[in-house]
């Protein structure tokens, strides 16, 4: 007689999509469409992305945030994404984890930025239990006072998304494309990028992090693995995502405006 699996009875359903090396713009487009047009809960894990890419928040100003001449000279792609928050440079060393939820999915959670981050940090506390003095510090994921994960959110009337780019590893040279932002958390204490951030690989193997994140999510949701192909026909063709590449012309105009 088969014994049914009972551990997930009563937990809300969450679809789990796992990718390896999905281009970050494609990931952002999928996320925005699921946020805006799906009524289900989603977890997306993307193990690295392809080419090094700068990703700015919705209100990011290239002239303030980027060393534009270097970005243009080296033809580094720059994306403006649909969520808030700061600027990151992502590549194959970045691990992305995203949660897209209905506002009732997490009991007693108010759909505002701080409560959502409080929830996510408690989930990741399970992942990093006993490792590296993990906590949420002024809205960043840190080990001690070193940031290893940048997160951002978008909140609609009935749903929210919280996505994170985790620095499992990074290329030192890539950080030189980013300026010290005007708006920085106090704990950064004017440190340069390299003194401010750290690599998750110094604390935990990559596959262990992803597996533990899925396990932690399973304590609150009943996870259903889904392949992208299975939902491709359901994704509305007429949906127009807002995340996009900035053109060379836009970057050049920003550089000129800065000099004048």
């Amino acid at each position: 007689m088969l014994i049914p699996q009972t551990k997930n009875i009563g937990l809300p359903l969450m679809n789990l999509m796992r990718f390896k090396g999905l281009p970050i713009l494609q990931q952002l487009h999928i996320e925005e469409q699921l946020l805006r047009t799906s009524s289900e809960n989603w977890c997306i894990v993307n193990d690295g992305t392809n080419d090094p890419t700068v990703v700015m928040g919705v209100s990011g100003k290239p002239a303030e945030l980027l060393e534009i001449e270097s970005v243009l000279d080296d033809q580094v792609p720059v994306i403006r994404r649909f969520t808030g928050g700061g600027t990151v440079i992502v590549d194959h060393g970045t691990v992305f984890v995203t949660f897209i939820c209905n506002k009732e999915a997490v009991p007693n959670l108010q759909p505002y930025p701080r409560p959502i981050m409080s929830w996510s940090s408690s989930l990741y506390s399970k992942v990093f239990q006993g490792i590296g003095d993990f906590h949420l510090r002024e809205n960043d994921y840190v080990f001690g006072n070193h940031k290893f994960g940048g997160n951002a959110q978008s909140i609609t009337k009935n749903r929210w998304i919280h996505h994170t780019s985790f620095l499992w590893d990074f290329n030192v040279q890539n950080m030189s494309y980013l300026k010290h932002p005007k708006r920085a958390p106090a704990y950064r204490s004017a440190r340069s990028h390299l003194d401010f951030i750290c690599r998750m690989k110094d604390y935990m193997p990559r596959s262990t992090f992803m597996d533990k994140t899925v396990e932690a999510t399973e304590t609150q949701f009943s996870l259903r693995p889904i392949q992208l192909e299975a939902i491709r026909t359901c994704l509305e063709a007429e949906f127009c995502p807002s995340s996009r590449f900035l053109t060379n012309e836009e970057l050049e105009a920003a550089a000129v405006a800065l000099q004048s």
Binding site: V58, T83, G84, G85, P113, R114, Q153, I155, K157
Partner: protein, 165 residues
Amino acid sequence: MALRMWASSTANALKISCSSKPNVSLAFSLSRCFSTVLDGLKYANSHEWVKHEGPVATIGITDHAQDHLGEVVFVELPEPGGSVSQGKGFGAVESVKATSDINSPISGEVVEVNSKLSETPGLINSSPYADGWMIKVKPSSPSELESLMGPKEYTKFCEEEDASH
């Protein structure tokens, strides 16, 4: 309790109602203990307010909303001439690494947009009902206002929402 009673009587004198925020230390200033809810406005359950004066209605977000959102650093608003629909998003604010949709309490044509918010988005925090107004709309269905909450109903709504989380 004494502070709450004083606040209540002061609020009555100023013709405003207050919703309390549970679990807030009395060491905080009065303005942080209570969300302000103004008389004469109507309120949506997504925490926008609307003030209907003659042919134009002014829309913004409430004190409760701005307090929960945190410091607003960026505002996205529509262009004049566009249309808004009741319950649908017309713009967004950015705060604490999050963009949050702003939903219109009524339908109509956008006739004016608060241009000060592009340079000074913090007006939404410091003056949510006055200088932080977002758009002015010519209502297409004035009866939609009747479906919105009044000040007392909205105050109770905020208290229940905060208490349940």
